[in-house]
């Protein structure tokens, strides 16, 4: 009875129902777009860092993802030798020094992250599906040469071709010798250069950002990290899980910020529902009085108004998810142009979360009008014109 009456009432006031649902849809849609950014980043990192990368990553001190990329490298290269000397003890099969150096710009498109590594090392060990599309990859002979292999997206975005140059600073120019095939991931935005020329370019020749360790027993990476941590307390040793954990924590912080921004839209949506329901209760006061006179209990009207509010919210949520999905496509198109990554993703858990939030919004915003409807004295309601 409640559902039937609620749906009939919403159908009869079709314009109001539509406008209110539209308000909710916009609120939920904006929330979906904001939160889908986090989901997209998660997928990008989990999909790529989780399946590749070293068994252990070594940092100087505890790992801090953002500081590692924005501050000067701190890890002395001497640790390559020291860890090599202990390689048998810890089952270390390979050590790769890595240097990250950002060159900032005013837009994402003009910002680059130079990544230095020994040119003899296989970049495929670091990047998922690394494959050279044009030109060549880095080789041992590039050890002292200022050459670069760039991602396809970097090339397209900046209209760079083989033989052209990238300027890191006034005295450091890197010639593009290869373009890596776009795989829709981190390699798309990579600028791979030989380690030594990059160290010279930034004036720090004895330090790197990380060391990448390969182990003979990758499954024992956590235990090895603990043992290494005891012997090298000044260093930080991170497994892939640790790195993902730090990334996840960072994304989670941005989740809170984005949810906070979304909350504003949600509050506006909730006010729209509450306003519609209050108006509806006022208009139908006499009708509610009649229903009560016929024998309906106060709880019936309470459930009726609350059901209408929740149905409005669910309808709004449904269209909100569609709006969010369309918005996400736009965001991803822009992000792909700028940084070559799908930064937004619509996951099942995001859809479930959006609908749950909308239902909660409907319940909260419908409570006050529902109480009001249930508490109107019958005789007063019946006397209302």
């Amino acid at each position: 009875m409640v559902w039937f009456l609620a749906l009939s009432a919403l159908r009869q006031r079709v314009l109001r129902t539509f406008l209110t649902a539209l308000g909710i849809a916009v609120a939920v849609g904006s929330m979906v777009i904001f939160l889908s950014l986090g989901e997209g980043l998660r997928q990008a990192f989990v999909g790529q860092i989780g399946s590749i990368g070293p068994d252990l990553q070594v940092s100087f001190g505890p790992f801090n993802a953002s500081a590692s990329l924005t501050s000067l490298p701190e890890l002395p290269l001497e640790y390559v030798e020291r860890l090599n000397a202990e390689s048998e003890t810890y089952g270390i099969t390979d050590i790769t020094p890595l240097l990250f150096h950002p060159r900032g710009g005013f837009t994402p498109g003009s910002s680059f992250l130079f990544q230095g590594l020994p040119p003899s090392k296989d970049a495929g060990a670091i990047y998922y599906k690394y494959e050279v599309l044009e030109g060549r990859t880095l080789t041992e002979t590039d050890d002292t040469h200022k050459v670069a292999v760039i991602g396809e997206q970097v090339a397209q975005r900046n209209r760079l071709e083989l033989g052209e140059v990238l300027r890191l600073n006034q005295s450091s120019i890197f010639e593009i010798v290869g373009i890596a095939k776009s795989e829709g991931g981190l390699i798309d935005n990579a600028i791979l250069v030989p380690l030594k020329p990059l160290q010279e370019a930034i004036g720090i020749e004895d330090r790197v950002t990380f060391l990448a360790l390969d182990l003979s027993e990758p499954g024992a990476a956590a235990a090895t990290a603990e043992r290494l941590g005891n012997d090298f307390p000044e260093l930080g040793f991170q497994t892939r899980g640790d790195v993902l954990g730090v990334v996840e924590e960072g994304i989670r912080i941005t989740d809170v910020v984005r949810l906070g921004i979304s909350a504003i839209a949600l509050i506006v949506g909730a006010i729209a529902v509450a306003n519609t329901m209050v108006m509806s209760v006022i208009e139908r006061t006499r009708e509610f009085g009649v229903v009560r006179a016929m024998g309906a209990k106060p709880n019936f009207l309470f459930r009726l108004v609350l059901t209408e509010a929740v149905v409005l919210s669910i309808v709004g949520a449904f269209f909100g998810v569609i709006i969010g999905r369309l918005g996400m496509i736009v965001v991803n198109n822009i992000a792909n142009d700028l940084i070559g990554l799908d930064v937004a993703a619509l996951t099942v858990r995001l859809v479930v979360f959006a609908i749950a939030v909308a239902i909660a919004m409907g319940l909260v915003s419908g409570l006050l009008p529902a109480f009001r409807a249930a508490r109107i004295p019958i005789a007063v309601a019946m006397a209302r014109e």
Binding site: L5, V290, A293, M294, G295, P298
Partner: protein
């Protein structure tokens, strides 16, 4: 014009009934010391000028409002001592209402309006639809089952309202100005229907300004200034 009560027989007894409203400008006495027994199978008409307390009396008798003094007894139940949920149950199963403005639920068809009280009483969908059709057929609305209220004439709406009042087979019917918004012909049809309902053994209480209603009354009660007018 005494009628013989049938299986619906339930008398309704008001004793020392009164209602006072407190306000900033002082206390207003809407009804004072009203006592009367409305017998089963009779049609009682309550008349009086505006402000005489007719609507207040109807609200108190029907359990839509609570008196400040006195009692209303239906069968062996004192309405004034019941909790709101119990009063709601009593209204659902024992009372039926017909209003001046029809007060049909605008979003429901004639059939759905009549079936609605049965839904509140948890009657199955099949059963309530069958009974609603029967009731509407009885009042000549068999061809108007699926019409929304705004597609019906005033007289048709009032007959739907009467059919709805009878949905849960109540013992007592309250009618508040049932002919107030009707032309004389439609009003006559509704009054005949109310008379028929009383003849079935139900207690029918009609509040009205319409002198024509007295023609079908078994009992006439006049109110003046919130009291029975015995002049």
């Amino acid at each position: 014009m005494t009628r013989i009560p049938t299986e619906h027989a339930t008398s309704l007894k008001a004793k020392g009934l009164g209602k006072r409203y407190g306000g900033a400008s002082g206390e207003v006495v809407a009804l004072k010391d009203f006592s009367h027994t409305f017998m089963a199978g009779t049609l009682s008409v309550i008349m009086g000028p505006s402000g005489s307390g007719k609507s207040t009396l109807l609200n108190l008798l029907a359990g839509l409002d609570t008196p400040t003094e006195g009692s209303v007894t239906v069968g062996d139940q004192d309405l004034t001592t019941l909790a709101e949920t119990a009063r709601a149950d009593l209204r659902l199963n024992t009372f039926g209402f017909v209003f001046q403005s029809f007060n049909l639920i605008t979003v429901l068809s004639a059939l759905q309006n009549v079936a609605f009280p049965m839904g509140l009483a948890s009657v199955s969908k099949t059963e309530r639809e069958a009974k609603a059709k029967t009731l509407l057929g009885r009042f000549g609305l068999g061809e108007r089952l699926n019409h929304l209220p705004h597609k019906l004439s005033g007289g048709e709406r009032q007959r739907v309202s009467l059919a709805r009042a009878l949905a849960n087979d109540p013992a007592v019917i309250f009618a508040d100005e049932p002919t107030g918004n009707l032309d004389s012909k439609s009003g006559r049809i509704v009054l005949d229907a109310l008379r028929g309902v009383a003849d079935e053994g139900r207690t029918v209480i009609v509040v009205t300004h319409d002198p024509a209603v007295t023609e079908i009354a078994d009992t006439l009660i006049r109110l003046k200034d919130g009291q029975k007018d015995s002049s």
